[in-house]
Amino acid sequence: MAVTATTVHGASPKAGSRTFLAKLRDGDEVARLVTFLFAMFVVLIVVFLVFELWRQSALPRHKFGLAFIVSSVWDPVFDRFGALPFIYGTLVTSALALFLAVPLGIGSAIFLAELAPPRVSDTLQFLIELLAAVPSVIYGMLGIFILVPLMRQYIAPALKATLGFLPLFQGPAYGVGLLTAGIVLATMIVPYIISVSREILLSVPRDQREAALALGATRWESTWKVVVPYARAGILGSVFLALARALGETMAVTMVIGSTPVISSSLLSPGDSIASVIASQFTEATGDLYLQSLVELGLVLFLLTFILNGFARLLIVLTSQRGSGLENA
């Protein structure tokens, strides 16, 4: 301990030359140890979290094995649990959310980073940050009371009338369902996409824009053909970050998705997502197998977001450090 402390952490030459006892008297070693314990606590928590999710889902893992992920039957009465309807619901609502939120988010980010004067951009950014602070239960409430009736009376009938030939927009419309959840999710993730993309766009070197303009590009051409491609990987990172949020988002989705464990090709039909089935059934779960199946769903969700977050961070770090592209050079 003493040796590593002096060799690795004695940053200043003065500290290195003092003896361990002297440093102990000064309290440096004590402070180091105390803060070290607090930092280790964070590491322990994460390890313990993964361990607990694994341990508490032992029953369904042994009973169903991989079939848990590919089976579409969720029947608590007969103790049969398959996660597929929830995985499907999670992926479909998140994909819908991205489809709606990405153009809006990137468009706004371009405006904030490229067009708006700094003061306007900062003010709007401030409002966007406030928007990101709105709790999801409030989005859920607005979803129930505004979007669901709108969906039932106007949007769904209109979609069926115009695009009804697609299997995506068929069947009865209850108002609640995958599409409604997707729209609510989209509203929630737009702020994340804007904030991160704006910063990425702002970090694109000025020369890039000037060079494009000097070559005779219009303002839009310089933005769309030079600046955005330069920031491509980082923007993609912001999208993945938003996707990870959407996958784990619970309350707003639970309130508008309809909580029905079915796989339907229609976006208008009710469904369920991993997070929302945990939220709505956890306290009612009777029996260990039922409860542990929900924990295993939690494990699946954890792994999904873990992979996505890692990927997103990698992309963002790559862009902000050396610009996006290896292939851009």
């Binding site: 200043s12 003065k14 803060t35 928590i45 468009g107 706004s108 405006f111 303002r219 306290t283 969700l301």
Partner: protein
């Protein structure tokens, strides 16, 4: 000017205008939410909302006093657990750690930050509810604390690092030990940024519902103690909004308005006043 050039200019103006429209739509959502909540919740907010317990099912009236106090208790205990861990962990990263431990700690914090809040709820359930066989305020606070730790830790580290080296060297040249330098020079220089980050983390978890559903559960009465279930504003909103009673819906709006109002005020104060001139990290 050739038609081609004129066309390109038209496209340029059009697309740039479109991005403006995008920004306008995105920002107007905030005003829509605020306006709608104020409109619906404003009429339902009265003195009783803050002072009375929820009325029995079927009766009109009542308030959410227990949920307001419950939320306050949950947040207080969560800060008590989460802030020291995040702060001292951040101090370790910024001042003491070697690069390898720093990587592990930082990676863990980032990982924890990305864990969906519902999964944090499951974790708190398995370690603090299952063994004791009952839901509790403590379990809810623990879940919220876990959500606060990553932001507190990373921003403490960042703000401590951003303190100029010369300040540190000045203190050490005067003979101060390392930790004395941190306590009396470095931390005070960075306190505004750190405090801002903590306040923002607090505002964020104040609206968290998912991790409370099966830890703090909910309660229609005053919570008798830290090891008993407690009501909280977000969970109350969830239950009242889904209930079939018109009167409950109104109370849900009122609760939503109160909650959102508090969160936004904290955000504005933290970002606008406290953090003036400080780069606030994204949550």
């Amino acid at each position: 000017m050739s038609t081609r050039v004129r066309w390109r200019k038209v496209v340029s103006h059009l697309m740039l205008a479109l991005t403006g429209v995008c920004a306008l739509i995105s920002v107007s959502v905030l005003f829509f939410i605020l306006g709608y909540l104020a409109f619906h919740g404003g009429s339902a907010i009265h003195w009783e909302f803050f002072t009375k317990l929820p009325a029995p099912v079927g009766e009109i009236g009542g308030g959410m006093a227990n949920a307001i106090v419950g939320s306050a208790k949950l947040l207080a205990l969560a800060s008590l657990i989460g802030v020291p861990i995040g702060f001292f962990g951040g101090v370790y990263l910024a001042e003491f750690s070697g690069s390898r431990t720093a990587f592990v700690v930082r990676y863990s914090a980032d990982l924890l930050n990305g864990v969906p809040s519902i999964v944090i709820g499951i974790f708190a359930y398995t370690i603090l509810v299952l063994p004791f066989r009952h839901y509790s305020t403590l379990a809810g606070s623990f879940a919220l604390a876990l959500l606060m730790i990553p932001t507190t830790l990373r921003s403490t580290e960042e703000f401590l690092r951003s303190v100029p080296r010369s300040l540190r060297e000045g203190a050490m040249a005067l003979g101060a030990s390392r930790w004395k330098t941190i306590i009396s020079v470095v931390a005070p220089a960075a306190y505004r940024g750190i405090l801002t980050a903590i306040l923002l983390a607090l505002a964020r978890v104040a609206g968290e519902t998912a991790p409370l559903l099966f830890t703090a559960l909910g309660n229609r009465f005053w919570s008798p103690g830290w090891n008993q279930p407690t009501a909280s504003l977000p969970v109350m909103i969830y239950q009242y909004a889904l209930a079939p009673y018109e009167d409950w819906h109104e109370q849900a709006w009122a609760a939503g308005l109160v909650l959102l109002g508090l969160i936004l005020v904290v955000n504005v104060v933290a970002r606008g006043v406290l953090a003036r001139g400080v780069a606030v990290p994204r949550s």
